[in-house]
Symmetry: C2
Subunit: 286 residues, 2 copies
């Protein structure tokens, strides 16, 4: 099986490298051509001239872009080259409705589609320890499994098309709440005069232990907010989640509070920082 | 070194067992005598007639009770038997001011005091994998370390007397926020029709991963709220934390929201359940 990768951003470039390391990667494409050319050179794979050209030369197309419109634009751009039986795997975080629309267009060409959003941060992408939430047919997942296993350590079939994205929405809502929990607590710790390194060490080992504290606690308390996961992207995800919740007749008050905090931070020019920049609104004045 | 243990509740009984297993435990005492007699029989240690009698026969007294007033009452009750040089280690979760008051009374007798609250839940107490946050003199901690190491896997010196409790306060605030984050997200997942077992499995492996989801997610989504950590106790802790924050001129909005949710649950008779009973307020109607 020969795979092609579209979208070589912070996450995508690491995932493409891991596919290459396992011998699966044949071609890459990126909206900014220089990025694709550099990575193609590094990995010794083809740099496709277009998504359609990439699709025409591989058995599986993996997509990792930022927004719903980007996913549908990429699908439309690769369709002219897409051959029956090709796997199209969308690793982006988008709405379930977008996943279903993408799947429809792909299946009209006799190809197969999985929504397979990931979690685990840049670290997980780099170390191939992502958790991957898959929606689509079980036999399609089995064909895709060697590729997904090259990028992640936990691959779970959540159900039909769109259910991978539904699980990812839950994940993003939980991340939003944990960001509030960790930043509120650490700011309290700073005000209490605690040694923040020791505090993070001991709290990580107990019932409040979490990935975000472990990975972002040490940096946020040093005023380092390098992404990681860009705040403006999480903001976009939370808007999708809130719309999904509204359709279900429910609300996500903690996510909404986080989304509103993100808007204050974006207005102040912090949208390109890591989501842990929420700490800016909580910490004692510097 | 021969240790005595006061307070054989859900956490204390496990900690006493782990001390006994390492050969440190000489005596126990409990407010309900039958509990102490049963555990003393099980472990082959003395069942002291009073805290003072226990203190008179050991080199280290460990205390694990529920509230600030209980700690000070236990200190007063053991003082008549307390010999100079004895270690008094309070494992309870109380305010920093209570820790300082207890330390003063103990030091007046020429004995030494550590505040050493723990986190890691009943599981951590059972498996001796607690994280222990220690306040007090460094050399006192070094004397106590073999005892603490018998009960926990992470022992961190946070600073002077009271700083262990300050770290624990941060821990409790973080737990309060994580409870909101996990319950909001899982309730959203139920409404989306996701398989909750698979959802918890995949989300646990990524950037939203946390102890509480891992340990309490599978039970709360089955409407099982056996403690664990009693909701009414966390409520008590959060009131202490809010008072500490107010003294510092700050607020803990997410903790306050959780404390208020707990009050609704306590009014409905759920105070003796695990803190994950917060899910009752979030999940879809059954």
């Amino acid at each position: 099986m020969r795979a092609g990768f579209i979208g070589l951003g912070a996450m995508g470039a690491h995932m493409a490298r891991n596919l290459a390391q396992q011998g699966w990667l044949g071609a890459v494409w990126n909206r900014t051509p220089a990025t694709a050319q550099a990575l193609a050179g590094e990995l010794g794979v083809a740099c496709a001239a277009s998504p359609a050209e990439l699709a025409a030369t591989v058995d599986a197309v993996l997509i990792c872009v930022s927004a719903d419109a980007d996913v549908l634009a990429m699908i439309d751009a690769l369709l002219p080259g897409l051959r029956p039986g090709t796997l199209v795997i969308d690793l982006s975080t988008v709405g379930s409705a977008t996943a279903r629309a993408a799947a429809r267009r792909v299946r009209e060409r006799g190809a197969d589609f999985l929504d397979a959003p990931v979690t685990g941060g840049v670290e997980g992408a780099r170390n191939a320890t992502l958790a991957i939430m898959v929606g689509g047919a079980a036999d399609t997942l089995e064909r895709a499994r060697p590729l997904l296993a090259a990028m992640g350590s936990r691959v779970v079939h959540m159900g039909d098309t769109g259910m991978g994205q539904a699980a990812k929405a839950v994940n993003q809502v939980m991340c939003a709440g944990i960001n509030q929990a960790v930043t509120e607590a650490l700011a309290f710790g700073e005000r209490l005069g605690l040694d923040m390194g020791k505090l993070i060490e001991v709290v990580s080992g107990g019932a409040a232990g979490n990935w975000f504290l472990d990975k972002r606690g040490p940096t946020m308390t040093q005023d380092v907010f390098r992404p990681g996961f860009k705040l403006a992207l999480h903001h976009k995800d939370l808007k999708i989640c809130e719309a999904m919740a509204e359709d279900l007749g429910t609300a996500l008050p903690l996510s909404t509070a986080t989304r509103q905090d993100y808007e204050r931070l974006m207005a102040a020019g912090h949208g390109e920082e890591d989501i842990s920049a929420l700490y800016r609104l909580k910490r004692p004045a510097r």
